[in-house]
C-alpha cells in the first residue's frame, strides 16, 4: 500500500468505528481523538481492525504512533508496503 492508500484506509476504518463523525476536516497532524468524539475503546478498535484486516499487530507500547493521521501513515507504511 502507498502512503495515500494507507491514509484512506485509516479514514475508512475510523468511519466504520464512529460512523456519525464527520471526517472531512480531519487535520493530519493533530491528535485524532482531539478532533472527533472517540474514546479509548474506539481507539482500540483501530488497532483491532488493522489486525483483523491486514494481520498487522501493533504492540501496546506503540499505540501512540497512531495518534494522528500523519504519524499513523508514517508508522504503518513500512509494515504495509507489501500488502
Amino acid at each position: 500500500m502507498t502512503a495515500d492508500e494507507i491514509r484512506s484506509m485509516i479514514l475508512e476504518v475510523i468511519h466504520e468505528i464512529v460512523p456519525d463523525e464527520d471526517l472531512s476536516d480531519l487535520k493530519p497532524d493533530v491528535r485524532i481523538r482531539d478532533q472527533i468524539e472517540m474514546d479509548s475503546m474506539d481507539f482500540l478498535d483501530i488497532i483491532m481492525e488493522l489486525r483483523k484486516r491486514y494481520g498487522i499487530t501493533v504492540p501496546e507500547d506503540y499505540y501512540m504512533k497512531l495518534s494522528t493521521l500523519d504519524s499513523s501513515v508514517e508508522y504503518l507504511e513500512p509494515l504495509m508496503k507489501d500488502i
Binding site: V18, D39, M41, L44, R51, K52, E60
Partner: protein, 461 residues
C-alpha cells in the same frame, strides 16, 4: 479442545464479551449451565404466558445521535445499530414516599423541575449534586471507593430528598445495604435520571436474540446446559476447566460472569471462610400478574413506581420473608410501543430474605408465596388503581428461584458488595465480568463484558 478464551455464563456480560472476542477472531466458547441464555435477565413461559425476569426496563436510554453515553458506546463496540434493540421509551415514572412524589421521564429538566417544586429549598443543592455527578469519572477502573451517603449528604440537606434519590438507584443495582459506593451511585443516577428508561417491544428476549445472533454470526460457540463444575490450576494459572458432564476444556484465558465467590468456588482449595463477606446479602421477590385489561384503561399511565411507605427508607435484607414497606411496581404495558403488548401485566418487586425462603419446606414455601402476595398487594394498591379483580394469572419468583436458575449465592442479583473493578483475580489468566465487576444494570453488564474483553484479552495482543 483448546480455546483462546472460555467465558462462563451466557448473560448480558458474557455474551457482550463473547461478541468482542469472536468479532476479532478469537476462538471463544461461552459455557452456560441453564438451557437458556440471559442469566439474571432472562425469560420463561408458563401456561401460555410469556414472562421476563430481571429487566423491567432498559436504563441508559438516549435519543439517536447522542454521543459519549453508555448505550451508544456499547452499540458501537458490539457493532450493532440502535434499531436492533427497537427501544420504546417509558411514559412516566415516579418515586413515591409518604407525602412526597417525584415524577421523572427521559428528560432530566423535567426531573430537576419536580425536585425544585417539591423541595424548593434544595433546588440549588440539587444543581450542585448534578455538577458533582457530571464531573465524576465513573468508568475509571482505579477510583477509590467513597460512601455515596456521605457525598450526597454533604450536598443535599433534606433527608427525605436524599432517600427519594437513592430509592430507585438502589433498587436497580445496589449490592450494599443502606449505602452505595459513590461511583456506582453515579452510574445509576446517570442511567436512570439523566438518561432514562426504554423497553424493546418484545422485552428482554429481543436484546438476548440480537446478542446471540451477533455472537454466533461472528463465529462464537455457545454451549447451553453446559455448566462448569471446577477449574484446575497450576503455576498461578487456570490450566483446565471441567464441565458438569466430565468433559475437560483448556483455554489461554477464562472470563467468568458467574460472580466473584461463585467463581472462586470452582477453584481447588476454595476456603469459604475467606470469602464470607463477599457474598451479597440482598435478594428480591417478584410477583408477576397477568391482568385481563391494561391499567391505562383505568387511567394509570405510570411505567415504574419506586415506593416507600415507612418513615425511613430501608434498603437491607429484611428480618421477615419479605419487606413490603418499599418496592418497585412496573407496568410493562406503559411504554410508548408501536403496538400493544399481547398481555396486560403488572410486576411488583420487594426485598426478600434468602435464608428464610430457602429453609421453607415445599408445602410451606407455596403457602407463604400466596400469603405474601396478599400482603404485598394491600400495599401496592395504595399507589395503583385497585387491579386485584383483574388478575387472571400470577407467578412468583423468590430468592430461592434466583439461586436455582442463576447460581448466584443468596439469590443476590446485584452480587457482591465488594466490586472488583479491574476484573483481575489472584490467577493471572482468570478474569471477572458482569455484576461483580461493578458496572450496573443491563447496559452496565454489557459494558462490563466489553471492557474486560478489551482490557484483558484484545489489548494484550
Amino acid at each position: 479442545m483448546d480455546y483462546d478464551v472460555l467465558i462462563i455464563g451466557a448473560g448480558m456480560s458474557g455474551l457482550a464479551a463473547g461478541i468482542r472476542l469472536a468479532y476479532y477472531d478469537k476462538k471463544v466458547c461461552i459455557l452456560e449451565r441453564h438451557y437458556r441464555v440471559g442469566g439474571l435477565n432472562s425469560f420463561y413461559s408458563r401456561d401460555g404466558h410469556k414472562f421476563d425476569v430481571g429487566l423491567h426496563a432498559m436504563t441508559n436510554y438516549v435519543p439517536r445521535g447522542t454521543k459519549s453515553t453508555p448505550l451508544p458506546k456499547l452499540l458501537r463496540q458490539l457493532k450493532l445499530q440502535a434499531e436492533d434493540f427497537a427501544l420504546c421509551q417509558q411514559r412516566m415514572s415516579a418515586v413515591r414516599f409518604p407525602e412526597k412524589t417525584l415524577r421523572f421521564n427521559n428528560d432530566l429538566d423535567f426531573f430537576i423541575q419536580e425536585v425544585a417544586d417539591n423541595f424548593p429549598k434544595q433546588a440549588d443543592n440539587f444543581q450542585k449534586l448534578l455538577k458533582t455527578i457530571a464531573e465524576y469519572d465513573a468508568l475509571a477502573l482505579d477510583a477509590k471507593p467513597m460512601s455515596a451517603r456521605e457525598v450526597v449528604g454533604s450536598i443535599i440537606s433534606d433527608p427525605i430528598l436524599i432517600d427519594m434519590i437513592f430509592c430507585p438507584l438502589m433498587y436497580y443495582g445496589n449490592a450494599q445495604e443502606n449505602d452505595m459506593e459513590f461511583g456506582q451511585f453515579v452510574i445509576m443516577f446517570n442511567s436512570i435520571f439523566c438518561e432514562g428508561f426504554a423497553r424493546p417491544q418484545a422485552g428482554v428476549r429481543q436484546i438476548l436474540d440480537v446478542l446471540v445472533r451477533k455472537y454466533e454470526g461472528c463465529g462464537g460457540e455457545l454451549r447451553l446446559r453446559c455448566g462448569v463444575q471446577s477449574m484446575q490450576t497450576a503455576n498461578e494459572r487456570v490450566e483446565s476447566v471441567t464441565l458438569d458432564n466430565g468433559e475437560v476444556l483448556t483455554a489461554d484465558k477464562v472470563i467468568s460472569s458467574a460472580g466473584y465467590v461463585e467463581t472462586m468456588r470452582l477453584l481447588p482449595d476454595y476456603d469459604p471462610a475467606r470469602f464470607k463477606n463477599d457474598i451479597g446479602p440482598l435478594s428480591f421477590v417478584e410477583f408477576i400478574m397477568v391482568l385481563d385489561k391494561e391499567l391505562s384503561e383505568m387511567g394509570y399511565d405510570k411505567t415504574i413506581i419506586f415506593f416507600n411507605n415507612s418513615d425511613k427508607f430501608n434498603y437491607r435484607k429484611p428480618a421477615d420473608l419479605i419487606d413490603v414497606s418499599s418496592g418497585v411496581i412496573c407496568c410493562p404495558n406503559n411504554f410508548h410501543f408501536d403496538s400493544p403488548l399481547p398481555e396486560a401485566m403488572i410486576r411488583v418487586t420487594n426485598m426478600a430474605n434468602f435464608d428464610l425462603w430457602n429453609n421453607l419446606e415445599p408445602e410451606e414455601y407455596k403457602a407463604q408465596k400466596t400469603a405474601w402476595l396478599e400482603t404485598t398487594l394491600n400495599e401496592v394498591v395504595k399507589f395503583v388503581p385497585d387491579f386485584r379483580h383483574l388478575i387472571v394469572y400470577t407467578d412468583v419468583f423468590t430468592p430461592k428461584t434466583i439461586y436455582r436458575f442463576t447460581g448466584h449465592m443468596n439469590g443476590a442479583v446485584y452480587g457482591t458488595p465488594n466490586k472488583i473493578k479491574t476484573g483481575a483475580t489472584h490467577l493471572e489468566n482468570l478474569f471477572l465480568c458482569g455484576t461483580d465487576q461493578g458496572f450496573l444494570g443491563i447496559v452496565g453488564a454489557m459494558l462490563s463484558g466489553i471492557s474486560m474483553a478489551n482490557l484483558h484479552v484484545l489489548q494484550r495482543g
